[in-house]
């Protein structure tokens, strides 16, 4: 077990280094930060001076080495655009994205599981079939379009919900939350639906498929034969057995949610790290881009590692297999 864990962690670090290299090399191509930093009145001498200041005149490996050196200490340098430490900016923005991701995930799980059970139990009913077909519409339209349509209907035409931003936030010192104000809660509804729709469909389909599978097993047939009520069978036995794959998939989808938050945050002007990243691309703010990519790589790789270790702990068959190879 220990050997396996150590080996997997070692692999993860290599993955991070590679991702870091790829990410960092990308920045040499997204544009020249100097021009977006200097205004209309800049002279060519200014351009040269700032390039040297930023260390952009140094060869690429040197730049990457310097970046890694800082990254290990959690120091990603100073944002070119805001002139503040990147770690500080990200720490400020992360709560917005995490709150959005959290609400989307909760919505996706609640509705996904509920609809999944419903469509499995009423397998051939018209309502279930309609839901199944409708759910495909959700995944057949691009996220940005759904977001804009939701704004158009609920903010502009009906005027029920706010069209952008987080509303009023409360600063708890270490976390700025939108959960404690009315406007904050109203503001999160549309972006959370937009972001969670795809995951909801996915969870619904997995729950349905798993339920159908489980409902066919002898174990359920036996439970029915014992005379347990339909309700008890469906919820007490069948559902319980479908939860493992649902939890796994949801875990794996956290990465997706954070990444797709880029689009949702752009459409709703949600002040999270996704919007920060898109803005960084526009202004060629290399330290921010690098830090963001490293942050989500760490997040993805850790999720992967945890899932793997959990499997390893749960399933003894894997233990034999893996240690051999």
């Amino acid at each position: 077990m220990l050997a396996f864990a150590i080996r997997r962690m070692f692999q993860s670090i290599i993955v991070l280094l590679v991702v870091g290299l790829v990410a960092f090399s990308m920045f040499n191509f997204v544009g020249d930060p100097v021009d977006s930093m200097l205004g209309q009145e800049r002279t060519d001498a200014d351009v040269e001076r700032v390039r040297i200041q930023l260390g952009l005149d140094q060869p690429f490996p040197v730049q990457y080495y310097k970046f890694l050196q800082g990254a290990v200490k959690g120091n990603f340098g100073i944002s070119y655009r805001q002139g503040r430490p990147v770690s500080q900016i990200i720490a400020e923005r992360l709560p917005a994205t995490l709150e959005l991701a959290f609400v989307s995930a909760v919505l996706a799980i609640i509705f996904g599981v509920a609809l999944g059970i419903f469509t499995a139990i009423r397998r051939n009913g018209w309502a279930a079939n309609t839901i199944m077909s409708l759910s495909l519409i959700g995944v057949s339209l691009p996220t940005f379009l759904i977001g804009i349509l939701l704004i158009y209907i609920f903010a502009v035409e009906l005027g029920w919900l706010s069209s952008f931003g987080r509303g009023d936030v409360v600063d708890l010192g270490w976390w700025r939350t939108g959960f404690l104000t009315k406007s904050g809660l109203l503001a999160i509804i549309l972006p959370a639906i937009t972001l969670g729709l795809y995951q909801m469909t996915l969870i619904m389909r997995i729950v349905r498929a798993e339920m159908l599978e489980v409902l066919r097993t002898d174990y359920i047939k036996f439970a029915r034969a014992r005379g347990l009520s339909k309700r008890a069978v469906n919820f007490g036995h069948a559902l319980k057995n479908t939860m493992v794959p649902v939890i796994t998939v949801t875990g794996m989808q956290i990465g997706s949610i954070i990444a797709f938050a880029i689009i949702t945050e752009t459409v709703f002007q949600w002040p999270g790290v996704g919007l920060l990243f898109i803005n960084a691309i526009r202004f060629v703010d290399i330290p921010i881009m690098a830090a963001y990519l490293m942050l989500i790589s760490v997040m993805f790789v850790s999720i992967n590692l945890i899932v793997d270790l959990l499997y390893f702990a749960i399933d003894p068959r894997l233990r034999l297999d893996k240690t051999k190879g």
Partner: protein
């Protein structure tokens, strides 16, 4: 004519499959819609009223014509109206769909070739190579496609000469979307290979000193064909949506040769101003295309996995 095509395709498949298709109205409708759209796009140069990709034929004054209403300056009438550049929306959708479909099919083909080969190698060779491939697959699975695409786009731009960037954008889309979809194929094929590898006929071939790789491929591929087909169909829908999303973020098809996604990006700017046709028609086309492909994939999965029926 359609019946004949159906027959030719399905004679090769077993009759259960055909039976299931004939008794699924959803599958039939989806198939017809998807086929119509694909043929409509492929044959567009033969019947589309305009070629929107030829700038010399455009007249800017035709811009923003409403569907079926004569333009106030030029008097020309367009079936589905025109966009901001005076392009006929109907023709632009057809030509745009060609790009979307080309990107979709090419990306899925790329993902399939990559995934199936890597899956075979991983399963057959095993050992550290297997570990390496599957580790990459794990990481790939958690790393979302749009991020991969943006990374590749950033890198590719640095290496492409300036006058080839238009074409580059299309290939980058294909590679990026392909790279984010190959894992599913690889996993299925690897699993099947592991099962097959230890069967007697392969062992026998090995003992006789014959190269067993060819035999393996011959036996495994038919077994995984169904799963690969299902994954490919669903991937196609995902690829079309991914193309649209990337175009929205500005890392997609160029505006002078718009894909469906680029058209929707252009059209969403006119949602509030009353020029609804620029957004609505491409969006409905995209929806019809992705939905029908998704429904087909859904049906395929059920049909090929009778356990769930």
């Amino acid at each position: 004519m359609f019946n004949k095509i159906h027959d030719n395709i399905f004679r090769a498949l077993n009759s259960d499959f055909l039976y299931s298709f004939k008794h699924s109205p959803v599958a039939i409708v989806s198939f017809i819609v998807a086929l119509t759209l694909v043929l409509g796009a492929v044959l567009a140069p033969f019947y589309a009223p305009h070629n929107p990709f030829d700038p010399a034929t455009l007249n800017l004054m035709n811009g923003f014509s409403a569907p079926m209403k004569p333009n106030e300056f030029t008097g020309e009438t367009f079936l589905l109206g025109t966009d901001d550049q005076g392009r006929d929306v109907f023709s632009t959708i057809l030509y745009g769909m060609r790009i979307s479909l080309f990107v979709g099919f090419a990306a899925v083909t790329f993902a399939m070739v990559l995934g199936v080969s890597l899956g075979l190698i991983a399963g057959y060779v095993g050992g550290w190579l297997d570990a390496l491939i599957m580790r990459i697959a794990d990481v790939q699975l958690t790393f979302p496609g749009i991020l991969v695409a943006m990374l590749i786009f950033g890198i590719a731009k640095g290496f492409t000469p300036i006058d080839q960037r238009d074409q580059m954008a299309i290939w980058v889309l294909i590679i990026a979307i392909g790279l984010s979809e190959w894992v599913q194929f690889a996993r299925v094929v690897r699993g099947a290979t592991l099962v097959e590898k230890n069967k007697e006929y392969v062992q026998a071939a090995r003992l006789n000193g014959r190269r067993s790789g060819g035999i393996l491929i011959g036996h495994i591929l038919p077994n995984v064909l169904g799963s690969v087909l299902v994954i490919a169909t669903i991937s196609l829908a995902l690829a079309i949506i991914a193309e649209a999303t990337l175009s929205f973020l500005g890392v997609g098809a160029p505006p002078t040769k718009p894909s469906l996604g680029t058209l929707i990006r252009i059209g969403q700017g006119y949602l509030f101003s009353g020029e609804w046709w620029i957004l609505l028609f491409p969006a409905v086309t995209l929806l019809a295309l992705a939905l029908s492909v998704n429904l087909l994939g859904d049906w395929l999965r059920d049909a090929l996995n009778p356990k769930l029926k």
